[in-house]
């Protein structure tokens, strides 16, 4: 089973990914296309920016009263017949879920998309205790069969070509070798997953929104597997982070009008299911999870990213994500938002992520809840530098640069030396292995004179 035990070196992972130039361009174009679909959908919504504004404010308001709203949610959910559990961290979450299943003798669980359960590494925990876990989203099932993590929070298998999926299905589902037509593969998966859904003792779903005033859960999906998983077996487990709360039903349309359009360019997902308690004769268990979120709430530089509704728009627009692939981030959530969440949880482990960005700001402009993603990435860089988690070479180079830039005389001398020496040095010296800039680029041509000297020489110019 895959593990993120090693320190994530994004530059190296990225370089490996894009060394296959054809594949990297294919991935880049495929994900860019989703950004374009988002643009087309947003252009049909005249109040798009007003919606983003409202969404940001609802989240800010909710985060300022989160405990109160969670209590209200719990009260109303209990009144509807649901059971509510609380987990401080991933270990408690996993133990609670396992406990619910074990108590009822359930050995077969079907799961639909939940980034939270990925974050808590629920699958390996349950499998080690004798429970078969089947991820029923097509994309999640593909990566589950391939024994690798998802590379995108909305399109888990976006990094996989259809021929590779065909081969995977030939091995695991018995499709004919060489079949790669998406419709045929999807049909094969439909039958395979339907059998799993019918045989399951319990279904687990994530939660997109938990409505405090109703005690209801809202789950947004396209395929139908989440709804089947929540209604065929008698036991439904729903896992949610504390930040999934929205105060009132009338807040929902603000998010629902933004979510699918931002994620895939659809006006809404096929199913937007509202669960008001368990089905007759069934059980609904809601597991509310903290796992670092309350701590993040306390950090004013990073709390805005708790507003994230997991749409994936930021990673679709990110020029770095598209060219390095989700796996290079080494975290369940990649891209810009992942580059904030991951180092917030484990700073040393993910210290390269906030630097895996040119800070272009495109992510912030597509974020439906107006998280200032690129500014938060910059804040995280400061935080990591304070903790001395920036590589020594970089720290020394920047300290030297600050020294030279801070001493006018030295700065002018350095410029003069560069202008005199660089053009005279042999090319192999200038473009040696030490020159990272020069690996694929020429240095800018050294000017003959500094700007100050040119300015002084102008008629009437003065320094």
């Amino acid at each position: 089973m895959w593990r993120y035990a090693f320190r994530v070196d994004h530059p190296s992972s990225a370089a490996r990914f894009l060394a296959d130039s054809g594949r990297a361009h294919w991935h880049d174009q495929a994900v860019w296309w989703v950004r374009q679909k988002r643009d087309a959908a947003a252009s049909l919504v005249p109040d798009w920016e007003a919606l983003r504004d409202a969404a940001a404010r609802i989240k800010a308001h909710t985060l300022s009263r989160l405990a109160g709203y969670l209590e209200e949610f719990e009260r109303n959910a209990l009144a509807l017949g649901a059971r509510v559990h609380w987990a401080r961290d991933a270990a408690e979450h996993n133990a609670i879920v396992h406990g619910i299943l074990a108590e009822r003798g359930v050995t077969r669980l079907v799961k639909s998309k939940s980034m939270l359960t990925e974050e808590c590494r629920l699958n390996p925990y349950l499998e080690a205790r004798g429970i078969e876990v089947v991820d029923t989203d097509l994309g999640e099932r593909i990566v589950q069969l391939a024994e690798e993590p998802p590379s995108h929070i909305v399109m888990p298998a976006i990094h996989r070509k259809k021929e590779e999926i065909g081969e995977l299905f030939h091995v695991h589902l018995g499709t004919r070798r060489g079949v790669s037509d998406p419709a045929l593969l999807t049909e094969a998966a439909r039958h395979h997953l339907r059998a799993k859904l019918l045989a399951a003792g319990a279904g687990l779903t994530g939660v997109n929104f938990a409505v405090a005033e109703l005690g209801a859960l809202v789950v947004c999906t396209n395929e139908g597997n989440a709804d089947l998983g929540a209604s065929l077996p008698p036991l439904h487990i729903a896992c949610m982070g504390v930040e999934k709360i929205v105060p009132r039903a009338r807040d929902l349309p603000v998010f629902l009008r933004l979510l699918a359009r931002s994620a895939t360019g659809q006006p809404i997902t096929t199913y937007t299911t509202h669960y008001f308690g368990p089905q007759p004769g069934g059980e609904l268990h809601i597991v509310i999870v903290d796992n670092g979120r309350s701590a993040q709430l306390g950090d004013e530089r990073l709390r805005r990213s708790l507003a994230c509704i997991r749409c994936g728009a930021c990673m679709n627009t990110c020029p770095v994500f598209r060219r390095s692939g989700g796996h290079s981030y080494g975290y369940t959530v990649p891209g810009p938002i992942g580059s904030i969440l991951a180092p917030t949880r484990q700073p040393a482990h993910h210290a390269t992520l906030p630097f895996a960005s040119s800070l272009c700001g495109s992510c912030s402009d597509v974020c439906p809840v107006r998280i200032d993603l690129h500014h938060e990435l910059l804040e995280l860089r400061h935080a990591l530098a304070e903790k001395r988690l920036v590589p020594l070479g970089k720290r020394l180079a920047l300290r030297l640069a600050a020294f030279v830039l801070g001493w006018t005389g030295l700065y002018r001398l350095a410029g003069w030396l560069a202008r005199r020496l660089v053009p005279r040095l042999p090319r192999s010296w200038v473009y040696g292995a030490w020159n990272a800039w020069g690996r694929q680029r020429e240095l800018p041509p050294m000017p003959r004179a500094s700007f100050r000297a040119l300015y002084r020489r102008r008629p009437g110019g003065r320094a």
Binding site: P11, P46, E49, S357, S358, C360, D365, Q440, R441, E442
Partner: protein, 166 residues
């Protein structure tokens, strides 16, 4: 930078306020302060406008392709006033060039792929000259152009505007 980020560096006070309040990027100065929305002069060339990220998304020199706001672009409108100029149509009008700062060196592989992709776009669109308001974008793109020997050259918007006067 001065207007948006100097305070983050711990600087403050009336002198910073005065300087920050008076600092403008060239095109926004021409358009917002001098009221020149379209430049005059001649520049009969095919020009690709690279929308530098800081200028576009921090200084809001243009509306950008992400947001649903009334379209505007100060740099483009200035340049489009030049006689004979042909501003080419890019496939991705405001994707980042990949310079970023230390990113250009720390994530060198991604940085160069991003830069090359921009240059491919400009070449395919038929540009002779790539222009931008940000010198660092141009330095990075120029470095790639000269290494790859692409049939392009870079000029800062100021150079084009000055050149057009002669």
């Amino acid at each position: 930078m001065v207007r948006h980020h100097y305070r983050d560096l711990g600087l403050s006070g009336p002198r910073l306020d005065a300087v920050a309040g008076a600092t403008r990027e060239l095109c926004e100065f021409l358009v917002d302060v001098l009221g020149v929305t379209r430049a005059s002069g001649a520049f009969p060339h095919r020009v690709g406008l690279h929308q530098s990220c800081h200028g576009l998304r921090e200084l809001r020199l243009g509306s950008g392709t992400e947001r649903r706001v009334p379209g505007f672009n100060k740099v483009r409108s200035l340049l489009s006033g030049l006689e004979g100029i042909s501003l080419v149509e890019l496939a991705r009008p405001d994707e980042c060039c990949g310079f970023g700062g230390t990113f250009a060196v720390a994530e060198e592989a991604v940085s160069c792929m991003m830069g090359r992709d921009r240059l491919e776009d400009h070449e395919r669109a038929g540009a002779e000259i790539v222009t931008a308001v940000d010198m660092s974008c141009l330095m990075h793109l120029d470095g790639l152009i000269r290494r790859d020997k692409r049939p392009l050259r870079v000029m800062h918007v100021a150079e084009i505007l000055a050149n057009a006067q002669h």
